[in-house]
Symmetry: C2
């Protein structure tokens, strides 16, 4: 099965290569009959155009890429679906590109833009701390979706869609306080310059506004040797907390996965939720609703955010607008995992 090229097809059909090219690319000026004949031959011989050659030659493809860090994160699953359908609806090609944790997403993006002649990019997840200079190299429009960034990015360079992580975090911790909790432990990543940090800040402010002192012993950092933001990590941290004998009545994990791990650790210790401890999370994953008890959490409006992301991207591509920044409101979903004391 030697590889067959456009030239071979042309010969087989007794036409020139450009005619074959016109046939496969749905060009207007081509005789319908010859086109049909060519398509026939192509099918028969299983000819498939080489994308590398196409991308190399084409000046612009209609492709949008989603770059995503931590592809296994269930939080992104539903967003991806919407990205895909929206992009296809606009007759663009949808490319999903996973980025390794150690890779620099901008480097990956630049490479991809050259390779595939992208029209636009969506960055999903991860921490964003890049110099404007480098972002400039990326000379296509891009949107940061659900990426918190503490640093001040040049707001004209890129667009963004997210929730106010700090404010929403404040909201749920404040809710715990209003329920009467005074000893609220938190599970948070150690050195996180992004959403982890923002959500942690919300925790601090909420406690302060409620006249509660932050206790160092109740600030629990995720384990380095375990995947951050995982159930496993939440479990390990909570187990340690319980065994330390530290006094607390509620635990706030900055993501739902950790919250679930926390719940399990509590159950394994023979305690009950919410009778013995209240547990709260963040994100609004499906599972937080299906868990038993359902988890009190901050639900991000993922569908709307995904739609907005694509809308903004296309607006910028078509030069309808310059960079936009949208902050969505998230919803405090009260589950069965918290109670007043």
């Amino acid at each position: 099965m030697e590889t067959i090229t456009i030239k071979d097809v042309a010969k087989l059909c007794g036409v020139g290569v450009s005619t074959v090219s016109r046939a496969i690319n749905n060009h207007p000026d081509i005789n319908e009959e010859t086109k049909a004949m060519i398509i026939e031959v192509i099918k028969k011989h299983n000819y498939i155009p080489n994308n590398s050659a196409r991308n190399l030659k084409r000046l612009n493809s209609n492709a949008i890429a989603i770059l995503i860090k931590g592809i296994s994160n269930p939080f992104f699953s539903s967003m991806i679906k919407i990205f895909e359908s929206e992009i296809k609806r606009k007759k663009y090609t949808f490319i999903l590109q996973r980025v390794d944790n150690k890779e620099d997403e901008i480097d990956v993006a630049i490479e991809l833009v050259k390779e595939k002649k992208l029209k636009g990019i969506v960055f999903l997840g991860g921490y964003f701390s890049h110099q404007s200079e480098k972002l400039m190299q990326l000379n296509v429009p891009f949107v940061l979706s659900t990426i918190g960034t503490t640093q001040k990015l040049d707001r004209n360079i890129c667009s963004s869609v997210s929730v106010d992580d700090s404010k929403e975090s404040y909201k749920i911790v404040d809710y715990l306080c209003k329920l009467g909790h005074k000893k609220i432990a938190i599970i948070t990543p150690m050195d996180d310059e992004s959403i982890g940090n923002l959500r942690f800040n919300g925790y601090i402010s909420a406690l302060m506004d409620n006249g509660i002192e932050v206790e160092e012993k109740l600030v629990r950092f995720m384990k380095d040797e375990i995947d951050s933001y995982s159930m496993e990590n939440g479990y390990a941290v909570t187990k340690e907390l319980l065994e330390s004998g530290e006094d607390f009545t509620a635990i706030y994990a900055i993501c739902d996965s950790c919250a679930i791990g926390a719940c399990k650790a509590i159950f394994d210790a023979g305690k009950k939720i919410p009778e013995d401890y209240s547990v709260a999370g963040f994100d609004g994953l499906d599972i937080s609703n299906y868990y038993n008890p359902s988890i009190t959490t901050i639900k991000q409006p993922v569908e709307e955010m995904a739609e907005a992301t694509i809308k903004i991207l296309f607006d910028v591509i078509s030069k309808k607008t310059s960079a936009q920044h949208k902050t969505f409101k998230a919803e405090l979903v009260i589950g069965q995992s918290t109670k007043a004391i």
Copy 2:
């Protein structure tokens, strides 16, 4: 920021393009100093080679692609990690390519082989029913990983790694029977030619061997309008089952996600697990362990399977062996969701 090519770099450095090429590709015969100088200039001007051009020119790249249907399936997450590390350990490039549910994975694969000059492919998930003829076009080695296929594929064409879905399914249903359950409902996909069907067969055989008649009313099909294999689907089906008033003491969902949905429906109906109903799943997802109660399930040895997949693939690539077929044993993990009656 116009795009900069290898020619530009050559000019900037005052050398020929081949020297630049040698520098970026770590060729041996190049002066260390000129190489260092070139690298310097490349960094300064942010030159990034165009992959399309490279792929087009190269006769073979050291790249392996994982094609995966249903990328959001948590079952694949841990496997992907292992694929990646194993492939990188062998100094190959790891490419993760998602396949749309409606797409034909073989078509995608053929295209990708041409575009990236792949050395090998792993197909992950989905149903496999392709003609040998078409598979032949794929003239690189490939392995089907965790793909059940009822049809008899030519065993010499491709390799495979999986569990015996039918047998393992039998195992867990038999376990339920031995616990004394006689009215065991099942949640299974409707028209599934692959693992769904195999697992369903295991259910049937187990019941028969235990002298239990299969009751049509207890065979519940996933809803068409909802994602199959989802918690949501398991919830909807179970809710309907409960409301139908049908008598049963245990429910077996052919995947853990569905089992969790089933649990939640039972809780929402004010019932208890396992006191009122026993629930069993299949797959051995992390969450089945973290759920409350933990779910009795069949745990597939994902790590070993992923490792075996890569090992076989490389064996075939290096012509050490011809196609291999490996079936792994899965483990019945007894959780808190089932009890004897």
